[in-house]
């Protein structure tokens, strides 16, 4: 055999190619031991030297025979080590633009990124030196990880990523090298991590368990190079505004503002919260030595339903590194938690009883009731202390608290005896400002209650006759007859199918009389009329609704609807119709969004300039079926953020409208791309036969300033990461590439391989024959057969 062949291989192993199980091998060895033992016993008459020579020869032959059965082979390999991977992560977030003071100098030095750029050329030598063991790949990271090159990173002038998510970058490295060996990571950054690790690890704290586990998953040393120092940095930043996305109207809401302050002398300054540009609250912050994080709490009560834009601002001081982080904006969606209803009743009755029961049982209604239990005409033969009566708090209700209600119900209530005339304009204004108001009939209601020619009449959807008292009342029983509008309006639609609805209205118990009204106002919609009473040739309205400025009103001229919820049961009916009628009426009166015929929807309320915003307009017919092929326009008005966050003028600009047309499902899908920051007021308008329907919404468009919210370098965070992963931590400009720690490559590559079968060679066969022959010869010679 030519021995030179072995010189081509630097590694080898012995292989056993025979397909024998462990039991077989053990069995053969046991048999071999028996053979040797028996031989030694059989040969005991011989001299020891001869005896053990023969035993050794027999054992050797047996072992060689067994070895041939196991089919040994020599596995020769020429192997070389495989390089592992080193990822170099360069932070290209916006905060890297910030200037950093050079150590020992008072002046501004290079930007944080410039320090890295100056350091990157040193990597050429490192890559060359480690080329046998490590493969270097360069990445940039900001919002996400992106492959790059040293040359490209050196040429990069202005890092501009809106975030510096180091956590996601490290996870990205792990994914990038999935199935490959990572020899190390080098992070060049100011240490600000807007990702999970940075958020979980507060300044001055150790890495938490979750962050440690996340870093350990890389199974490689992470070397960190800090670019930028906190020394000399001067800044006041609104780093976070903690707020809910929505709040409940008339319910306290808390907003917490987190400030990062560095490099400022001891002083105090105001933090201002504005709502729609108006100053809502101001808090004073007093700086303390060595403290960088301050929390400011605001508590306030949203007063209107809808979307409101809030701004938080702090003053801009001389020498601040940035002024973009001195303001913050958020949009709050204010919704109602419960419908606040004021029920005022002139005298207890079954109508009041059933209405209160309905309202009290509705978990979405917060009911305040006031019943007049006793009048000045009532006999008073007991002391006031013996009765549970309380004064009727007219001023509190109709002057101070009126605005907190969503709906006011006057149920058979006359204002006259309670010195309330002075509050009637307040109630009118409440309706015009968006409140709901319903007057329910009775001998103290409408004209009988003295409402003719009062501010209340101006918001009622019906004309009242002159006069008062019994003369403006009709006591005949009747059944309301639905008008065309009433047949499809949600208030009077007790069943979806028109025929079933008509049948239900025909079966409901009769109403026991009505207040007399002269007709509906021009802007009102009559849902049901009297079956026989007429005025000017038209049947008298019984259920009438209307919109007055921003508010909604309803006039119901009877006081017997309670019979739909009680008497109807005696005829085999259910209270469902009564409940449905009033619940629908309440929903309509308070403008329940679900009952809007035009709905403008958007998934998110806050966007960045240049990002397309999907919008949906849903249009329904009055019977709430989808309105197909309806055209409309989306009107857009832009408002400047400056006007919302300061005393500057509230600049507005009307932008081009977007026309739309609904499809078969009554939906029009639109897309709008706001180009500049601001508040955008959107109004979807649809023309219908008797006017225009609309819905409006607001979106906030702000630059992504996440990166500017926290600009203080986090050298300590980088050092913690390196310490945990056995990497090296250095700070620029004093860093050196020769100090980085890498893991040695563990994988090898087989360049050449040869398997030599030892068992089927002639040498082996001859060797066994020779040994057998020697044993036979010696045995014969030494006198054994």
């Amino acid at each position: 055999m030519n021995l030179e062949i072995f010189e081509q291989y630097n590694s080898g192993d012995v292989l056993w190619l025979g397909d024998w199980g462990l039991l077989w091998i053990v069995g053969l060895l046991v048999i071999g031991a028996l053979v040797v033992g028996l031989s030694a016993y059989d040969l005991r008459p011989l001299k020891p030297l001869r005896r053990w020579t023969l035993v050794a020869l027999r054992a050797l032959v047996y072992l060689l025979a067994v070895a041939m059965l196991l089919e040994p082979a020599l596995d020769l390999k020429n192997v070389s080590k495989v390089k592992n991977n080193v990822a170099v992560l360069v932070d290209t977030s916006s905060s890297m633009q910030l200037k950093t003071l050079e150590q020992g100098k008072g002046d501004e030095g290079s930007s944080r990124y410039a320090l890295i750029r100056d350091f990157l050329p040193e990597f050429a030598a490192l890559v060359e030196r480690e080329k046998e063991a490590h493969e270097f790949t360069f990445f940039s990271y900001g919002e996400s990880l992106a492959p790059s090159s040293r040359q490209a990173l050196e040429k990069s002038k202005q890092p501009s990523a809106h975030a510096s998510d180091l956590t996601q970058a490290l996870i990205g490295v792990k994914k990038h090298y999935e199935g490959k060996e990572i020899g190390g990571v080098i992070v060049l950054s100011d240490g600000i991590d807007s990702g999970a690790i940075g958020r979980r690890t507060k300044r001055g704290e150790e890495l938490d368990v979750t962050s440690q586990a996340l870093l350990a998953e890389l199974e490689a040393p992470i070397n960190t190079v800090a670019a930028g120092r906190a020394e000399g940095l001067k800044d006041v930043a609104i780093s976070r505004i903690l707020h809910e996305d929505f709040g409940f109207v008339h319910n306290k809401l808390s907003v917490q503002v987190e400030l990062q302050v560095i490099g400022m002398s001891e002083m105090s300054f105001p933090v201002t919260l504005r709502r729609e540009g108006q100053v809502l609250q101001t808090r004073q912050v007093t700086l303390e030595p060595g403290k960088t994080r301050y929390l400011v709490d605001f508590d306030f009560v949203p007063e209107k339903i809808g979307k409101e834009i809030y701004a938080v601002s702090v003053p801009v001081f001389d020498g601040e590194a940035l002024d973009r982080n001195n303001k913050g904006y958020f949009l709050l969606k204010v919704i109602r938690d419960k419908v606040r209803v004021l029920q005022v009743v002139g005298r207890p009755s079954w109508d009041e009883r059933l209405m209160r029961r309905l309202l009290k049982r509705n978990p979405n209604v917060d009911l305040i009731s006031f019943f007049i239990l006793r009048t000045n005409q009532s006999l008073n033969n007991v002391r006031q202390e013996e009765m549970s009566l309380i004064p009727f708090p007219t001023q509190e209700l109709f002057e101070q608290e009126l605005g907190s209600f969503d709906l006011v119900i006057f149920q058979n209530f006359n204002f006259g005896p309670y010195d309330m005339r002075k509050y009637l304009p307040e109630i009118e204004q409440f309706v015009r400002d968006g409140g709901g108001f319903v007057m329910i009939g009775g001998d103290l209601s409408f004209a009988s209650g003295g409402y003719t020619r009062t501010p209340i009449e101006s918001v009622l959807p019906v004309e009242l006759p002159p006069g008062s008292g019994d003369a403006v009342i009709d006591k005949k029983n009747f059944r309301p007859v639905l008008t065309e509008a009433g047949k499809r309006h949600p208030i009077t639609q007790l069943a979806f199918d028109p025929a079933t609805n008509a049948k239900l209205w025909g079966e409901l118990p009769e109403q026991k009389g009505t207040n007399i009204v002269l007709g509906a106002k021009p802007w009102a919609t009559v849902l049901a009329r009297h079956e026989s009473l007429t005025y000017n040739g038209e049947r008298m309205p019984v259920i009438t609704i209307g919109e007055v400025d921003d508010g909604r009103v309803m006039a119901l001229t009877t006081d017997s609807t309670w019979r739909w919820g009680f008497e109807y049961l005696g005829k085999g009916g259910t209270p469902r119709e009564y409940q449905l009628f009033w619940n629908n009426a309440i929903r309509w009166l308070i403008k329940d969004p679900e009952l809007k015929l035009v709905k403008l929807e958007m998934a998110e309320d806050t966007h960045t300039p240049g990002a397309a915003v999907p919008l949906t307009v849903r249009v329904s017919k009055p019977d709430y079926t989808p309105a197909e092929n309806v055209t409309g326009e989306l009107e857009i008005v832009w408002r400047s953020l400056e006007g919302l966050s300061s005393d500057a003028e509230d600049k507005r600009e009307t932008l081009p409208s977007i026309p739309f047309k609904t499809g078969a499902s009554g939906v029009a899908n639109l897309e709008y791309t706001p180009v500049k920051p601001g508040a955008y007021e959107l109004r979807a308008k649809v023309a219908v036969a008797d006017g225009e329907l609309e819905d409006q919404s607001t979106m906030l468009v702000v630059d992504d300033v996440r990166e500017w919210r926290d600009i203080i370098p986090r050298d300590a965070l980088l050092e913690s990461i390196s310490n945990l992963t056995q990497g090296e931590h250095m700070a620029l400009p004093d860093a050196s590439v020769s100090n980085f720690a890498f893991a040695e490559p563990r994988a090898v590559k087989i360049n050449r391989r040869k398997v030599i079968h030892l068992w089927d060679s002639a040498i082996m066969f001859l060797l066994i024959l020779t040994l057998l022959g020697s044993e036979w010869t010696l045995r014969r010679r030494w006198g054994r057969l």
Partner: protein, 263 residues
């Protein structure tokens, strides 16, 4: 022309156009408050025929509630008419036959829809044959809700008149007699759809056609009769307003006044 005359003439004109009779009466005379007796059996259901009319007169005199005075012995039977009267009284002094299952179901539906039944025994004992019959039927209507004493802080004792105070811890169901110091009832949540009195309240209210009290009230005489009327008015107010006086807004006023005592 005076302003009032002008309005009257204008109204007459308007009504003329409307085609209405100028003598139209007040809205919903049928909707004025009234109570009736429940004719629960062929006999024995009308032991106090004049009481309800007298009590309702007091309600109209003392409160803002407008009443429709019932004729003496006005009643409803089991049937659709039951659902025209959300408040009923049930009086008697003798046992009666068990109701059919249909009647039990009807009474249960009536009470669950908001009906309010006041059971008042004319027997003068706390556990007479009438009350035993009533309890037998109520146990069928409320199989899972046993009869309970109505707590003294219940809204029934403050729905118009204040009834219990520091000196008089018992909110007593004053009537012609005092055989039970507690009102009892069955509950539906926090509402009491049926109230049971053993003290013959209707006996204390009953007056003959000449205005004379039909029965003496013992042992308290006139003050006891006055308290009996107050309890009747409270029951009417509870029927009409339910837990209105339990609303938070009333609590400070009521607590302040819990110091009175009838002399």
């Amino acid at each position: 022309m005076h302003r009032r005359d002008f309005l009257t003439h204008s109204l007459a004109g308007a009504l003329g156009v409307l085609g209405l009779p100028s003598s139209a009466l007040a809205i919903g005379d049928d909707d004025r408050f009234t109570v009736s007796l429940l004719k629960y059996s062929d006999k024995g259901w009308n032991t106090r025929p004049t009481a309800l009319r007298r009590m309702l007169q007091e309600v109209e005199k003392r409160t803002s509630v407008e009443i429709k005075p019932p004729p003496d012995g006005d009643h409803v039977t089991f049937g659709p008419d039951l659902f025209t009267r959300p408040m009923l009284f049930m009086c008697g002094e003798s046992s009666f036959e068990p109701w059919s299952n249909e009647r039990i179901d009807m009474m249960r539906q009536w009470m669950m829809a908001g009906g309010f039944l006041v059971v008042d025994s004319s027997e003068g004992v706390s556990d007479g044959p009438f009350l035993r019959s009533v309890r037998r039927e109520l146990a069928r209507i409320f199989p899972d809700e046993p009869e309970r004493a109505i707590p003294t802080d219940h809204v029934i004792y403050k729905s118009f008149y204040l009834f219990n105070n520091d000196q008089n811890p018992y909110a007593e169901p004053h009537g012609r007699v005092e055989v039970d110091r507690k009102l009892r009832g069955h509950f539906d949540g926090d509402r009491v759809p049926v109230v049971i009195s053993a003290n013959d309240m209707l006996g204390a209210w009953a007056r003959d056609g000449f205005g004379r009290w039909e029965y003496d009230v013992v042992p308290g005489g006139s003050p006891q009769r006055e308290l009996s009327f107050r309890m009747g008015i409270n029951l009417v107010m509870y029927a009409l307003c339910v837990n209105y006086k339990a609303d938070q807004v009333h609590i400070p006023f009521i607590l302040k006044r819990r110091k009175w005592r009838v002399q």
